[in-house]
């Protein structure tokens, strides 16, 4: 059964901030979470989701010249069960969008999404009936990497931005938190 897509309604789709929802918290758990975040940030395994020409640059990012393994992300996984970050590389057609959403739902939490390139982030030049105008209409996107396609170092910069975000504890993708935030926002929208 397909899940409801909450972020389709709201355009601001990145993952919620943990601190925004719940101020304070346990000291012990917080310290442990800091440790976990360090571990998560330095071993984000990408899920292969090459859709178009951006995938060529994504592959060359893993190759010897740029060597994504220096950031602990060398293990590209073809299964969503072992991926931490989904790199949407290429234009996302409307026919592919349900597949993307299903694979995103199959990834274990915590999970992140990098939207790579102009087409995945906003549609780019393909402002037509076939292409989703921004992958954030289907899945919540954490980091956008502009470029057509982004060079491997630009993608590495995006991955470093994601690492910063994970370490700052802003990328906690607890489904409950997202639902709380979404419901709060929709109530505000209804009132407005």
């Amino acid at each position: 059964m397909p899940k409801r897509i909450e972020s389709l309604v709201l355009h601001d789709s990145s993952t919620p901030t943990f601190g925004d929802i719940e101020k304070g918290g346990s000291v012990v758990i917080t310290s442990l979470e800091t440790l976990f975040d360090q571990a998560r940030a330095h071993s984000i395994w990408p899920l292969t989701f090459g859709l178009a020409c951006c995938a060529i640059e994504m592959m060359s990012t893993v190759a010897a010249r740029f060597d994504l393994a220096r950031f602990g992300s060398e293990a590209f996984r073809a299964t969503p069960r072992q991926g931490d970050v989904m790199i949407i590389a290429g234009r996302l057609s409307k026919k592919m969008a349900p597949v993307l959403r299903q694979i995103y739902d199959q990834m274990p939490e915590p999970k992140w999404v990098i939207s790579m390139g102009a087409c995945a982030s906003s549609g780019g030049v393909y402002n037509n009936y076939a292409i989703v105008q921004g992958a954030d209409q289907v899945v919540p996107v954490d980091v956008y990497v502009p470029g057509c396609p982004p060079s491997p170092d630009a993608l590495i910069y995006g991955i470093m931005k994601l690492q910063e975000k994970i370490k700052r504890k802003e990328a906690k993708t607890f489904k409950d938190l997202r639902l709380i935030e979404v419901s709060a926002r929709t109530q505000e929208e209804v009132r407005a």
Binding site: H11, D12, S121, G124, G134, Y144, C148, L155, Y157
Partner: protein, 170 residues
């Protein structure tokens, strides 16, 4: 003798390759240690836009919207206003009061650069553009306009480490 041929010889062969690689350790390294060391940028590589100034400090942009017309992704928005003698921004009659580029939709083709009659908009080497929110990608005129004449010609420095990116020459 099966043992020598099937066991010892392949091991020695493999170890020879390892030894040859170990002897070359430190030479012929292809990996670029990206945040600490920048890849050389090609002379015509196109990334982030700049709105340039004349040496006098006046803006080159005259708000003609030819860049917006040439843009295949329709990511440029220009709004022009008239110059007056008291408030003069550009040498021509008009200047761009608003100039916005949606950096997330831009495909960095450089057609705006080609279309510009005054050479106001140029694409330079700043490739580190990734960010978290969609709103952060609307680059306004304040962000695009260089602070002083010739700022866009300076070599690009990494946002992470401040290392200078060399220009590829031959």
């Amino acid at each position: 003798m099966g043992l020598l041929k099937d066991v010892v010889k392949p091991i020695l062969g493999g170890m020879t390759l390892t030894a040859r690689r170990a002897a070359n350790l430190g030479k012929n390294i292809v990996t670029i240690q990206y945040p600490d060391e920048m890849r050389e940028q090609y002379q015509r590589s196109r990334w982030r836009h700049y709105l340039t100034r004349y040496d006098s400090g006046l803006e080159r942009c005259i708000g003609c919207s030819l860049c917006a017309g040439a843009c295949p992704a329709r990511c440029i928005y220009v709004e022009a206003a008239e110059n007056t003698d008291t408030e003069r921004y550009s040498p021509g009659e008009r200047y761009a009061v608003r100039y916005e580029i949606n950096m997330i939709r831009c495909i960095f083709c450089g057609y705006c650069q080609d279309a510009c009659p005054t050479g106001a908009i140029v694409l330079r080497k700043d490739f580190e553009l990734a960010n978290y929110k969609r709103e952060q990608f609307i680059y306004t005129k304040e962000m695009l306009l260089e602070k002083y004449p010739g700022q866009n010609l300076e070599p690009y420095r990494s946002k992470v480490t401040g290392v200078e990116a060399p220009i590829y020459t031959g």
